[in-house]
Amino acid sequence: MNDFMGRKVSYSSQMCFIPEESTNSVPCYRLLSTHGDLLDPSSINELDKELCIEMYRKMVTLQVMDTIFYDAQRQGRISFYVTTIGEEAINIGSAAALNATDVVFSQYREPGVLMWRGFTLQQFANQCYGNEYDLGKGRQMPVHYGSNELNYLTVSSPIATQVPQAVGAAYGLKMDKKDACAVTYFGDGGTSEGDFHAGMNFAAVLGAPVLFICRNNGWAISTPTSEQFRSDGVAIKGQAYGVRSIRVDGNDALAVYFAVKNARKMAVEEFRPILIEALTYRVGHHSTSDDSSKYRSVDEIEYWRTRRDPVARLRMFLQSNRWWDDENEDLLRQDLRTQMMSVLHNAESKKKPGLSNLFEDVYDVIPQNLKEQEQETQAIVGKYPKDYPSDVPLD
């Protein structure tokens, strides 16, 4: 019998070790050159002009929002922030290719997906300030957004825990026969976690309709990918789990869009997971608690920021097709800055959530002991108001 536990075995008397490295690296799919030229000019016919312009507008919005929130943190107006600079194409390109009912399990560098679905600049600001309009009721650090309505699960800090969670949700979608998939994002560093291994393995065994989108941006805080893994990146790991995979140029918004669109179709129609490795570069620091010039060269950062900017690349494509011009650009950026200033001012001036938000949502129904603690706290704060912040409403 030439089979072993249901698989065909091909025997050989040539002792052959699978090499640790293939002679050919996994090919990387791209549609635009780094200067924004369509590599296959005839493919212009498959492109929707309005969609391309909208994608560009959202990429610029993300870039401007990040820049202004980062500065706000530096000025002490918000406590913490994480930028997505350099990864706008992954955020918007993938978001545009998904359906609104696809359930998103992000890491924390994908606000563009939420933005694409309709989360407003004001809502982002409210979360960062933790004010009474924050959908998260002031429970979480900045950038830990979430919205039930937009099918984007609240961001959770531990790395890669969202990967098996997405598989679980995908299993639920499959059981409910929904025309939807689960989508999970993670970085190159996240693939080292045990959860990545378990999530990929399970997704294949269960036949779960889930997209695994890896933002391989070269850095996990100060750990470069050369110290993170020795494989040819992440896409190559797919076959080891029985998962179909693709490597895509993460700074090419159009390539990301089409790769995700096709992957989604396969996931939903064939009940299978797909792994997408999007190559990119983390232009910003890991977060506002990091100064990446301490572990990488400023020249490297500047090169990627100025010469490999995904936003500029899409702009060059649009402008060369006369779908966009400098006037549109100036108007957009000015308008965004004005909006952001107003949004920040609004968020800052709002009250913080009331005291009851400290005790709610621990459980579905507030238990007696927490009700008692709330009453005690209200009484003490009422009695010694000078000892407590003046901007915490007692209700």
């Binding site: 959908l135 009721k137 830990h144 609240t154 969670q165 679980g168 291994h197 002991n369």
Partner: protein
């Protein structure tokens, strides 16, 4: 009815009543369950609802939690809660805290269940009691049944509850049979979460216990009855929320308290109960609180050493007598 059958019937009935409930864990399907708790369920409900998982507690717990986020109601079985330590980040950071962190947008109606604490001859890595660890986490509900009635009623309550529930069973109790009334056997039977049960009424001293130690406390009470000491035994049933009202009400009646648990002493369940009573019923105590726990060592294997490392009925009897000032403190 044995505790095993009680658990099996509870899962069976809840899966029949609600198509969103499903079971997953290692060996739960084809093998009928490592301890046969899920016997017959794969045959009845099929592989979509009874999932045999690869060996990755972290993996299948994460998947269970993710499916709960989506709206399913998973029952995640750990072969023992000792192995759940590999998944504890998902239990605490993904399950317990999510309703709070998401401001009520994401609820996690999941049950984590399996054997907890010491069995027999399974030594250090298979004998730890996790009641105190999980019991300290806001966001979790933690239950521990003793009898078949407890097992049925509390597991049904756990499965129906919208919050994440840690359900601590006991391997030795699986085979023990208890009388059950027709009411308990009814599919609609459910016990409230957060209410302790007075297993035996008494007047002289309150003894609190959960899981297997309830049986030991009841036996100790029989021995003490012959010596004229009338013991009230409280079966906690619920570790979090802890039924402080019932415990304090009892101590205000008896004026003496002995807490019993198999787990380690430091930061244990007895420590919390003692503090609750000191805070709320200090004036009613006629004697210091006595705390009976397992020894402060990893569980040894040799049978004689294992016996020394966990509370025995005699230890409970001596503790009650000390609380009643019947003998000198210490040995």
């Amino acid at each position: 009815m044995t505790v095993r059958d009680a658990l099996n019937s509870a899962i069976d009935e809840e899966m029949s009543a609600d198509s969103k409930v499903y079971l997953m864990g290692e060996e739960v399907g084809e093998y009928q369950g490592a301890y046969k708790i899920s016997k017959g369920l794969l045959q009845k409900f099929g592989p979509d609802r009874v999932l045999d998982t690869p060996i990755t507690e972290a993996g299948f717990t994460g998947i269970g939690v993710g499916s709960a986020f989506y709206g399913l109601k998973p029952i995640v079985e750990f072969m023992t809660f000792n192995f759940a330590m590999q998944a504890i980040d998902h239990i605490i950071n993904s399950a317990a805290k999510t309703n709070y962190m998401s401001a009520g947008q994401i609820s996690v109606p999941i049950v984590f269940r399996g054997p907890n604490g010491a069995a027999a001859g399974v030594a250090a890595q298979h004998s730890q009691c996790f009641a105190a660890w999980y019991g300290s986490c806001p966001g979790l509900k933690v239950l521990s049944p003793y009898s078949a009635e407890d097992a049925r009623g509390l597991l049904k309550a756990a499965i129906r509850d919208p919050d994440p529930v840690v359900f601590l069973e006991n391997e030795i109790l699986y085979g023990e049979a208890f009388p059950v009334s027709a009411e308990v056997l009814d599919p609609s039977f459910v016990l409230p979460i957060g209410k302790a049960k007075i297993e035996r009424e008494g007047t002289d001293v309150t003894v609190t216990a959960f899981s297997k130690m309830v049986g030991y406390a009841l036996k100790a009470a029989e021995i003490l009855e012959k010596e004229g000491i009338n013991v009230e035994v409280i079966n906690l049933r619920s570790i979090r929320p802890l039924d402080r009202a019932t415990i304090n009400q009892s101590v205000r009646k008896t004026n003496r308290l002995v807490t019993v648990e198999e787990g380690w002493p430091q930061h244990g369940i007895g420590a919390e109960i003692c503090t609750s009573v000191v805070e709320e019923s200090f004036d009613y105590l006629d004697a210091p609180v006595e705390r009976i726990t397992g020894a402060d060592v990893p569980m040894p294997y040799a049978a004689n050493l294992e016996r020394m490392a966990v509370p025995q009925i005699e230890d409970i009897v001596r503790a009650v007598k000390r609380a009643c000032s019947r003998s000198a403190r210490g040995k």
